[in-house]
């Protein structure tokens, strides 16, 4: 029976091609927009997840001041070697390392100077493993990483290998750049992170950083907690011990301890809220489409009043009539959803390519199965629910009146 109803619905829709097409058009536009928007939110989410997985959730950061509110290198509160030693000895801390950071001037040949962040990394072998983990799977793509004894040598972010992104010409292994007017040799390049700020960074050994910037203090301290320990518990312990060590009272700390998970959560939730707002705005158009479907169904029921009378007079029950019309509007919604998903995927791909062109490879659409299925089911539900009221009216028609309708 369902097969017959489907056939009947499709042939009715086919008979009113123009109207069916316009109704479908109205729902597919909204589905296209929603699908594309969510796929970007989803892509960003999985980028973050992938990063988190590589990095592991056993990382804790200590930052100066109230958290990530300062631009690197602008804080007047810094950490030193003794602080790092103290942190290292706290129970539950497996390994700790510190980073120097400041924004500096980088010159190459006669091209216009750029001002990226310069990072000073430790080259002690045990700390280097932790640093590698911190980079979240982003490894050296060409050349080599920094090693003990490197002073005026640097590794560079991905963007330096692309012409016209930072400098007009790309750098290669052995290129000499000037960091704050000190000549430094490039020994390696990192893989692409996907965010323009990170991909523009230069990395020096801490010895090299001291030599160029004359800064011996650290901006951030990173650590891995010992296996089996709860990172947020360790973070609390570090906060308390480090506060006492620095002679500060509770609530007056000039540093912030956060687990990697907390930072990620804040970041992700902001993204999700922004994405959600856009999706809600796009949803308005689906509401309008639902109104259109309802309208189309009212019209089509009016036109087929006589037909309904005939069906009823030869024994069709109310539920059958209801099912016929709900199926018809559901099919309209489903077809609109199907085309919408396909178009949405296309638009999202184009948008993703545009983002890559600007070095934003972190913004790429992702099409999980649940999203595709969800959009299809949603479109079907919107269609059948908007057809429900007209269909109920149709099912309740009095067969005698309906037959007489002219």
């Amino acid at each position: 029976m369902i097969k017959d109803i489907l056939k009947y619905s499709l042939s009715n829709l086919w008979n009113r091609k123009l109207r069916s097409f316009l109704t479908m058009l109205s729902i597919l536009i909204g589905i296209t927009a929603i699908f594309a928007l969510i796929s970007f939110g989803q892509g960003l989410n999985s980028w973050i997840d992938g990063f988190a997985q590589e990095m592991g959730t056993d990382k804790v950061f200590i930052m100066p001041g109230g958290g990530l509110s300062n631009a690197p290198g602008t804080s007047n509160i810094k950490f030193n070697e003794e602080d790092l030693d103290f942190i290292r000895k706290i129970k539950g801390v497996d390994e700790a390392t510190a980073m120097m950071a400041i924004s500096g001037k980088v010159g190459y040949k006669d091209y216009r100077d750029v001002y990226p962040f310069i990072i000073g990394l430790s080259t002690e072998s045990n700390e280097m493993r932790l640093i590698e983990e911190m980079f979240g799977g982003i490894g050296i793509m060409e050349g080599r990483g920094l090693k003990k004894g490197d002073v005026l040598k640097a590794t560079a972010g991905y963007s330096y290998t692309v012409p016209n992104r930072l400098f007009k010409r790309e750098l290669s292994i052995g290129s000499k750049v000037a960091i704050n007017d000190v000549e430094v040799e490039i020994v390696g390049f990192y893989e692409e992170v996907g965010s323009p700020t990170d991909d523009a960074q230069l990395y020096l050994s801490q010895e090299g950083f001291e030599e160029i910037f004359d800064i011996e203090e650290f901006e951030y301290i990173y650590m891995r907690v010992a296996p089996g320990e709860d990172p947020s518990m360790i973070a609390d312990r570090i906060k308390e011990k480090f506060r006492k060590y620095k002679g500060q009272k509770e609530g007056e700390e000039d540093f912030t301890v956060q687990t990697f998970e907390d930072i990620l959560e804040t970041f992700t939730s902001i993204l999700l809220v922004l994405n959600g707002v856009l999706v809600i705005i796009a949803l308005i158009s689906v509401v309008v489409a639902a109104v259109n479907i309802m309208n189309t169904m009212y019209t089509s029921i009016l036109e087929r009043t006589k037909e309904i009378g005939v069906m009823k007079s030869i024994g069709a029950r109310n539920e059958f009539i209801l099912l016929v019309f709900v199926t018809e509007s559901g099919v309209l919604g489903f077809l609109g959803g199907l085309i919408g998903v396909i178009l949405g995927a296309g638009f999202a791909k184009i948008g993703g390519m545009a983002a890559s062109a600007f070095g934003l490879t972190m913004i790429q659409p992702d099409f999980p199965c649940w999203l595709i299925a969800g959009c299809l089911i949603f479109a079907f539900l919107v269609g059948s629910l908007s057809g429900l009221i007209p269909a109920i009216q149709a099912s309740k028609l009095n067969p005698v009146d309906a037959l007489r309708y002219e």
């Binding site: 602008t74 308005i284 158009s285």
Partner: protein
């Protein structure tokens, strides 16, 4: 004749009450969304612009190029007395003053906050800085030469109890980067989140506190003489600084800006976001338009016989076209009127809720008469645009075929 058209159209809309209503609902949802979002967007822009509103039009600021962050971040070639003197000598400049900005922590009532301190120069330069930021105190007094160990705070420190549990007032003692200072004044509220949260310290004090060399500045403020051509002065300062810093035009490692330039760059970012949101919101208008088209096509099919009769008794193609065109335009404009009212109400409602929840003026509705008129015009245009094709089809019907069409 024309009023007869309208009567005719109204009758046919009324006879299909449900359909006309549904079609209009489609339009008014779209118009309401667009009006509400534009209203809120403009309100946000107004709120942001008003943050800079207290800045005079007779001032310029000079900063050296550096990294991302407040002025002075990552600067390799900082501004020095050389630049200060050069800018002072440019004709039309009333006075100049350099200042440094430093981040730090402030402790009061056993609570800590992180923020920025700005330096105040001595002598005539102090007057210039006070003029540039339009400084005046709400409590206590402003800093003077020789006020070592004293600070003036932005209004937020006095107003916001949550920051430190209790307001800081003139006479209180605070700790800045672990050194004790006496608060001698609270600035008037500026409505700018930066100024209202800044600590003002005499320059010598701040340099001692953070160990900055004596002749380095993060930002140089310039006041021009009254009624001077500020753009010309801006260009002359740029030229002088290029000479001193030995850079070519287009390769400057510094910038000279008016407050208007700053507001402009903020606005252009905001505009990009706004346009994106509006585009997504207008999708629903497009969908509403398609609804009108659909309704009109249906109306043409239903009234094919009527059209045949009208034509056979002498109605011209253009008359038929106008009839249908008016019908769709009317659907659009009535939908638009309801939509504009609804949008107005929901924007105001959102702004009200936003104010209750956030307690700030950042979310406010700014609905201008132009916006309402624009929305109405636009809805009429949408209605008639999407009604054009069906109306053309109706007008081109062959009277004989139309008459012979069975219902």
């Amino acid at each position: 004749m024309k009023s007869y058209y309208f009567k005719f159209v109204l009758t046919s809309l009324k006879s299909r009450r449900i359909r006309s209503w549904l079609t209009m609902i489609g339009i008014f949802i779209g118009i309401a969304a667009v009006v509400a979002l534009i209203g809120l967007g403009e309100g946000l822009r107004e709120a942001i612009n008003s943050q800079f509103g207290f800045l005079g039009t007779d001032i310029l600021s000079i900063t050296a190029s550096g990294g991302f962050g407040p002025p002075g971040t990552g600067v390799v070639d900082p501004l020095t007395d050389k630049e200060l003197d050069a800018a002072r000598k440019v004709p039309g400049v009333e006075g100049v003053a350099g200042r440094i900005l430093e981040s730090g922590k402030l402790v009061f009532n056993k609570k800590v906050a992180f923020g920025y301190s700005a330096s105040m120069a001595d002598g005539k330069s102090r007057d210039i800085l006070e003029h540039i930021l339009n400084m005046d105190v709400a409590r206590g007094r402003l800093l003077e030469d020789g006020d070592s160990g004293r600070v003036v705070l932005g209004y937020d420190f006095y107003e916001d109890d949550e920051l430190f549990g209790e307001p800081i007032d003139a006479g209180d003692k605070v700790e800045i980067l672990d050194k004790e200072f006496e608060v001698i004044g609270i600035l008037e509220k500026k409505g700018n989140f930066q100024i209202d949260r800044t600590v003002f310290i005499n320059e010598d004090d701040l340099r001692d506190l953070v160990g900055r060399p004596d002749d380095e500045y993060d930002i140089i403020g310039v006041q021009v003489v009254e009624n001077a051509d500020i753009e010309k002065i801006q260009a002359s300062i740029e030229k002088e600084l290029r000479k001193i810093r030995d850079v070519d035009e287009g390769e400057e490692d510094f910038s000279v800006e008016t407050p208007a330039n700053v507001v402009e760059s903020v606005n252009s970012i905001l505009l990009g976001v706004q346009v994106f949101v509006y585009v997504i919101a207008s999708i629903s208008l497009l969908v509403g338009g398609i609804g009108i088209m659909n309704t009109m096509y249906t109306a043409v099919i239903e009234r094919t016989r009527d059209i045949g009769i009208m034509k056979s008794i002498g109605a011209k193609n253009s008359t038929i076209f106008v009839l249908f065109f008016i019908e769709s335009g009317l659907l659009g404009s009535v939908g638009g009127i309801i939509g504009a009212l609804l949008g107005f109400a929901s924007a105001k409602g959102f702004a009200f809720i936003g104010k209750l929840v956030l307690g700030s003026n950042l979310i406010s509705a700014q609905i201008s008469p132009q916006l309402i008129i624009g929305a109405l015009l636009f809805s009429f245009v949408v209605g008639s645009f999407f009604g054009t094709l069906p109306a053309v089809r109706a007008s081109k019907l062959n009277p004989v075929d139309a008459l012979s069409q069975r219902k």
